[in-house]
């Protein structure tokens, strides 16, 4: 088999390739403009911008994870923020342990909030988080495990549609309440913050920020390729068949719950990675990340960008979050009206999002062209 045939799954994805190219360009050019161009130059890119775009890249990865299950398998999770937050907490725990004696209380092992709560020993589930590789493993395992247990219970008993959506929302709500409690051992209300460095690099340094930015971009590209491979495989077509006609897929002989579980766990792990990259860039993780509205906001990114187009999710995440940054800065009153309006408009008028609109417009043009060219009929495949 030629390498070209082996990469057919990517070859046909024109929009995806363009978006990947843009991301690649952004994560190569912007760091150079930040680090090499002097601050007074017009071409200098501030660290603030780098941080902001880094955040968007994490959101895009999160949106990708949601689009994978919603766009291709019809699972509308209103609790994906929980997986994002769990990944974030796993990273946060590593960063907390890195602080060491530099905390306010100067305790060699215990994070500040534990000293404050008069705890005398590290809870067992904090063990190992001083090791970067263990923590990174947990970034994958914690959301993955939760998704596995939750999904196993839900899909096995065939909870589908809005019922599933509502219990995923209840799941993240319950987790939020739990993480707000001090005795959960995750810093309660304040969460985890005051991080100092990662792998020995100061989080304040521009180079570290750029490094995290590039890492987010690379994670997004890899995540995209992974998702693209999955949806282009036969498994992807099984997912679509589950989305369109679940019982048909069952009667053909596919174990629907296994497929759903696989893609749900994969999606949760991607969300966890996004959360883990997000936390060192914003410098804090708290239970607010679990709040249901955060999860549901992800849905509007995907819906606006274009459900069922993987690169649409990326576009949607960046567009909506750029809008959010802009409006909450300029007209904070207006933002929630805008966001609410986006939900209504995208469901009523843009069932396939921005990407869908562009696609339609292109199809129409192609049709007109074909028409103009004459009676070629089936010339356009």
């Amino acid at each position: 088999m030629t390498s070209q045939a082996r990469l057919a799954w990517l070859q046909s994805d024109v929009g995806g390739k363009r978006v990947l190219a843009i991301i690649l360009a952004v994560i190569i050019v912007l760091p150079l403009l930040n680090l090499l161009v002097p601050p007074d130059s017009v071409f200098h890119v501030s660290s603030y911008t780098i941080g902001l775009l880094g955040k968007y890249l994490c959101y895009a990865l999160l949106a990708l994870a949601v689009d994978l299950i919603w766009g291709y398998c019809g699972i509308l999770s209103l609790g994906h923020g929980a997986f994002f937050a769990l990944g974030g907490y796993a990273m946060g725990m590593y960063l907390m342990r890195q602080i060491g004696e530099r905390g306010v209380y100067g305790h060699p092992v215990l994070p500040d909030f534990m000293v404050f709560l008069n705890w005398d020993a590290l809870p067992w589930y904090w063990y190992g988080f001083d090791n970067f590789y263990f923590a990174m493993l947990m970034v994958l395992v914690a959301p993955g495990l939760l998704a596995f247990v939750f999904g196993w219970l839900a899909f096995r008993s065939r909870v589908t549609g809005v019922y599933l959506s509502i219990i995923t929302q209840a799941m993240t709500y319950a987790l939020m309440l739990a993480f707000f409690r001090n005795d959960m051992g995750f810093g309660g209300n304040n969460g985890l913050t005051d991080f100092k460095d990662i792998l020995g690099f100061s989080l304040q340094a521009d180079t570290t920020k750029v490094g995290l930015f590039v890492a987010s971009g690379v994670a997004l590209i890899l995540g995209y390729l992974l998702c693209r491979y999955v949806v282009s495989s036969k498994l992807g077509r099984v997912l679509i068949s589950i989305r369109d006609a679940e019982s048909r897929s069952r009667f053909i002989g596919y174990r629907v719950e296994h497929f759903k579980l696989f893609v749900f766990v994969l999606s949760a792990v991607l969300a966890g990675v996004a959360g883990a990259l997000y936390v060192p860039q914003v410098g804090i993780i708290n239970p607010g990340e679990f709040s249901p509205i955060n999860s549901i906001e992800i849905i509007v990114w995907v819906a606006l960008g274009g459900r069922g187009f993987l690169y649409g999710a990326i576009i949607g995440a960046v567009l909506v979050n750029y809008g959010k940054t802009f409006f909450t800065g300029a007209f904070p009153e207006v933002w929630l009206f805008m966001l609410g309006g986006l939900f209504v408009v995208s469901t009523l008028f843009l069932p396939q999002g921005v990407v869908g609109i562009v696609q339609q417009w292109k199809d129409k043009r192609a049709e007109q062209k074909a028409h103009a060219q004459g009676k070629t009929g089936e010339a356009v495949p």
């Binding site: 036969k234 498994l235 679509i240 068949s241 002989g253 174990r255």
Partner: protein, 253 residues
């Protein structure tokens, strides 16, 4: 790949004393009948006679309250779910044609192709040349060659019926349960469908549920009449049409 050894069983399907009720309403009431290997069987009955419920019970969608359902003499179908039963070799076509609307005709048939249905096998699955040939053969058999790359959702009602039958064939089941295949088809198409079902019986066992008497006549096979969840009469079409009980049920008292 089949879980069941390929010896010739006495009955491909053995339904005995099956009752299924919903809130006191007995959709199936002590239903018993058998299907022999290679047999083509038509099942008729008025609305609410329990035809669809019967199919649901056989394919594992519903569990009977009492009664036995055996496949190939030895497999107790009441202990398995839809996917397991499908993989054992029972295929089902729904009353309302259900194809995967956002996949092409080819992809629909690819999904139905018999083979391993595991998650990871699907992830790394590659179609072999032999499988491509098989899919193309089926596409030709059901007359959709022109529509090979069209989306399932773009097909007409009759074409969807055909595609679904094609998917059934691709599954290569021992037993096909076909619910109202002729609905929404032209006379010509109906005739073709009947011929197709006759052709595949022998190698496969086929149970057809249908309202259309012309179609039943064209099938030219033994007929079972269901009424209020039990078997009212059985025999050739002429025999059941002459049966007093059947006349009473169909024409009223």
């Amino acid at each position: 790949m089949k879980m069941i050894p390929k010896h010739i069983p006495q009955h491909i399907l053995y339904v005995d004393g099956v009752t299924k009720s919903f809130d006191g309403f007995k959709a199936l009431n002590d239903l018993s009948f058998t299907v022999k290997p290679g047999e083509l069987r038509a099942i008729i009955g008025p609305n609410g006679a329990g035809k669809t419920t019967m199919m649901d019970v056989i394919t594992g969608k519903l569990k009977p309250d009492v009664g036995d359902v055996f496949f190939r003499d030895s497999v107790d179908l009441t202990k398995h779910d839809e996917a397991e039963i499908a993989n054992m070799g029972i295929g089902r076509k729904f009353q309302k044609p259900t194809v995967i609307e956002s996949l092409t005709v080819f992809q629909n048939l690819e999904l139905a192709l018999s083979g391993n249905r595991g998650v990871f096998k699907s992830l790394f699955h590659k179609l072999s040349g032999e499988q491509r040939t098989q899919i193309d053969e089926v596409i030709e058999l059901v007359g959709l060659t022109e529509k090979r790359q069209e989306l399932g959702g773009a097909l007409s009602h009759g074409q969807k019926q055909w595609l679904e039958i094609g998917m059934l064939l691709n599954q290569d089941p021992d037993l096909l349960l076909v619910d109202e295949p002729a609905a929404g088809m032209t006379d010509h198409e109906t005739e073709l469908t009947a011929k197709l079902l006759r052709d595949i019986s022998g190698e496969h066992s086929v149970v057809v549920v249908e309202h259309d008497m012309e179609f039943i006549k064209a099938l030219d096979c033994p007929v079972t009449v269901l009424h209020e969840g039990y078997v009212l009469a059985e025999g050739t079409l002429e025999q059941v049409q002459a049966d007093d009980k059947v006349i009473e049920v169909y024409l009223g008292r």
